[in-house]
Symmetry: C2
Subunit: 201 residues, 2 copies
């Protein structure tokens, strides 16, 4: 059964990125630095070597259980050039955007641009995933919309041990009303804590 | 060696209480409900029974390692009456306030009112703790001040699996600049996840 999973690297105080553009790279690197050295992550980027660890195993699990990706337009715009001819997805990607565009074919990946909203993108991704999971890889806005609309089955937080004090909060714009979660994984990693939750629908 | 420890029950989205007074009790109860049934917590309130579990053991550890408490005036005002003649501290308590007041003697506890700020209260509590830990039990404002001023050795988060969407955020007013943490405990409890961090000074 296909699940809809959102995964975010997040500081202990709930920030997933910088709001000040000049802080974009330092904050992005601090929040994600737990992942860059992992064998599973490096393999996806076409590199060899790296650390074999529980964190690497969890990243590998996320890759293998995913049948399709959904992402926001901002994330796609940041990634389109650096991801190059062989993007690290190896599965269909659905980009939520207001701008119509023909599908973009790359090695192992087709980017489909969805202009009728997140729920439609998740629906198309679920069909394309053929029973595997649909993975929301960000940015914050897409994940916030998915939480607010009750579209998530699981929320994977990769919590990095730092207080940033300012930035883009994952927990803004998630809608009114309590949303109960159930812990399904609490795992210490190397420079990160993996907290996986089931979203009670 | 005496440590300065702050412990807070907190939702996954970082709220420790309600900002709307009408929501005070429901939010307080949702965030703290993991603790009410624990044997160690019940014993401190003069009750018997309750659950013996890893969470109860951790609460018992916090009680036994604490030699003195520091709290904010709002928390004291809420507690003064319900705590009654035998408050659950069994150690000196230092209340940070702007209002001078004579020390209040209760069974097992003396409340000392400190009008020259949090750093002074922590200093006095450290002397009174005689080598055991100084425990900041809240509210949010005192813990925020301690984080901003770099006065904490450890931060214990008892994370309850819910998104509240609104309320009093622990992570406001903690000052500019990144503050690195080191995970020292990642423990799944019953209806709560215990995340303990060392504050890198």
């Amino acid at each position: 059964m296909s699940k809809v999973v959102a995964a975010m690297s997040i500081s202990v105080d709930g920030y997933v990125g910088a709001s000040d553009p000049e802080q974009w790279f330092p904050v992005h690197n601090r929040v994600h630095n737990w992942v860059f050295g992992l064998a599973a992550w490096r393999e996806r980027q076409g590199m060899t070597g790296g650390q074999h660890s529980v964190s690497s195993d969890l990243v590998a699990d996320e890759f293998t259980s995913t049948g399709a990706y959904v992402m926001g337009r901002t994330m796609f715009d940041f990634g389109e050039e650096p991801w190059g001819e062989e993007p690290p997805f190896r599965a269909p990607v659905f980009v939520v955007t207001h701008r119509e565009r023909e599908p973009l074919h790359r090695t192992g990946t087709t980017f489909t641009f969805v202009t009728d909203g997140l729920a439609s993108a998740i629906k198309q991704a679920t069909e394309a995933a053929e029973g595997r999971d649909v993975f929301l890889s960000g940015g914050a806005s897409i994940v916030q919309q998915a939480i607010a609309a009750g579209l998530l089955d699981e929320l994977h937080l990769h919590q990095t041990p730092v207080l940033l004090g300012t930035g883009v909060r994952l927990w803004d714009h998630i809608g009114a009303g309590w949303k109960e979660l159930e812990p399904i994984r609490v795992t210490p990693g190397d420079g990160v804590t993996h907290l996986y939750y089931r979203c009670v629908r």
